[in-house]
Symmetry: C2
Subunit: 194 residues, 2 copies
């Protein structure tokens, strides 16, 4: 069961599949990253979590002898990125976006305050990036925040409102797929930052 912001009711279940016929399609990017993060956690490699979906609670009922029920609440826009944590002593912070577009990634997927947040993280010495998945090609790319800022600034100066698929191929890193690390972004971090 899916919710508007991609949140799911329950934790994703690991599905056994034949490795040769495996296809990523049908799994949301969030699910794939959650599975990857769980594997990193289980193997002691990193501690990286998705933040809960921010919700503005307006009304709560307290039935006798059972749990409090939220009866009115609204989705709030996140003021930061969705994922953060620690890897090899470094602070890790990223956002993940999926597009069905085959030729470009629209920058409208990112919000001003997320860029501001990312800039603050970089200035504190953190590792910050965005994962962009092109659903049509089943490819996920690792784009460093510093490069994203260049595209963003260009947009603000009446430049392009999107990043072409070609530019993403050239400017960012294809994230390898592994059965248990479906979006194995730490392999990119190992190469770039250590």
């Amino acid at each position: 069961m899916n919710y508007p912001n991609g949140q799911r009711k329950t934790m994703p279940v690991r599905i056994k599949q034949d490795k040769n016929t495996f296809s990523n399609r049908g799994m949301s990017l969030e699910e794939d990253i959650n599975i990857t993060n769980q594997f990193y956690l289980d193997t002691g490699r990193a501690v990286i979590h998705k933040k809960p979906t921010p919700v503005q609670i307006v009304n709560v009922n307290y039935p006798k002898r059972s749990a409090a029920v939220i009866t009115e609440a609204y989705f709030k826009q996140a003021s930061t990125t969705d994922y953060n944590g620690i890897y090899r002593g470094k602070y890790i912070d990223f956002e993940a976006k999926e597009t069905k577009n085959k030729t470009l990634f629209p920058l409208a997927n990112i919000h001003d305050h997320q860029i501001e947040h990312m800039k603050s993280i970089i200035s504190q010495g953190g590792i910050c990036f965005i994962i962009i998945r092109f659903a049509a090609y089943d490819e996920a790319y690792f784009l460093e925040a510093e490069k994203l800022f260049l595209f963003w600034d260009d947009k603000l100066n009446n430049g392009k409102k999107s990043i072409s698929y070609e530019k993403i191929q050239n400017e960012s890193y294809l994230i390898p797929f592994h059965f248990q690390m479906r979006i194995n972004y730490l392999s990119i971090i190992d190469k770039l930052y250590f």
Copy 2:
């Protein structure tokens, strides 16, 4: 308006007060930490946020021409700590708890999985601690996770189910109060880790 887990409906408002008559009482620990974190952020000192309250969403309505309304949801227990972020290149992670007890801090305020999380953070090289406020004395203490683990292990070995106020005074650090940094925990981090 308060909710079961201490979450508030709106962001805390900064209240102008005469500095000499200022008393912390009436402000929740969460509010004080949020104000402090906002000040750290505004002054470029650190990027540390409270994670949103985890909520399990069961039902959502989509009225025409207005925002989606969550009509059924439940509070979930957090699997990590409440606050994390980055300061001077270091990963920061902590939990904050307030007690009305005058003589001890009950360890029942902390959950197993939070201790597990804290241990993972320490093993990755992060800075991890707990802020404990004694409401009766208007005092907030900074207790390193490594010390908390000792009390926790003692509890598991049929030891004390709480930490006495006296032990907290001896084993942890009183966090200084500042008008704009009401729980100025970075001052303790500066002394302990840099």
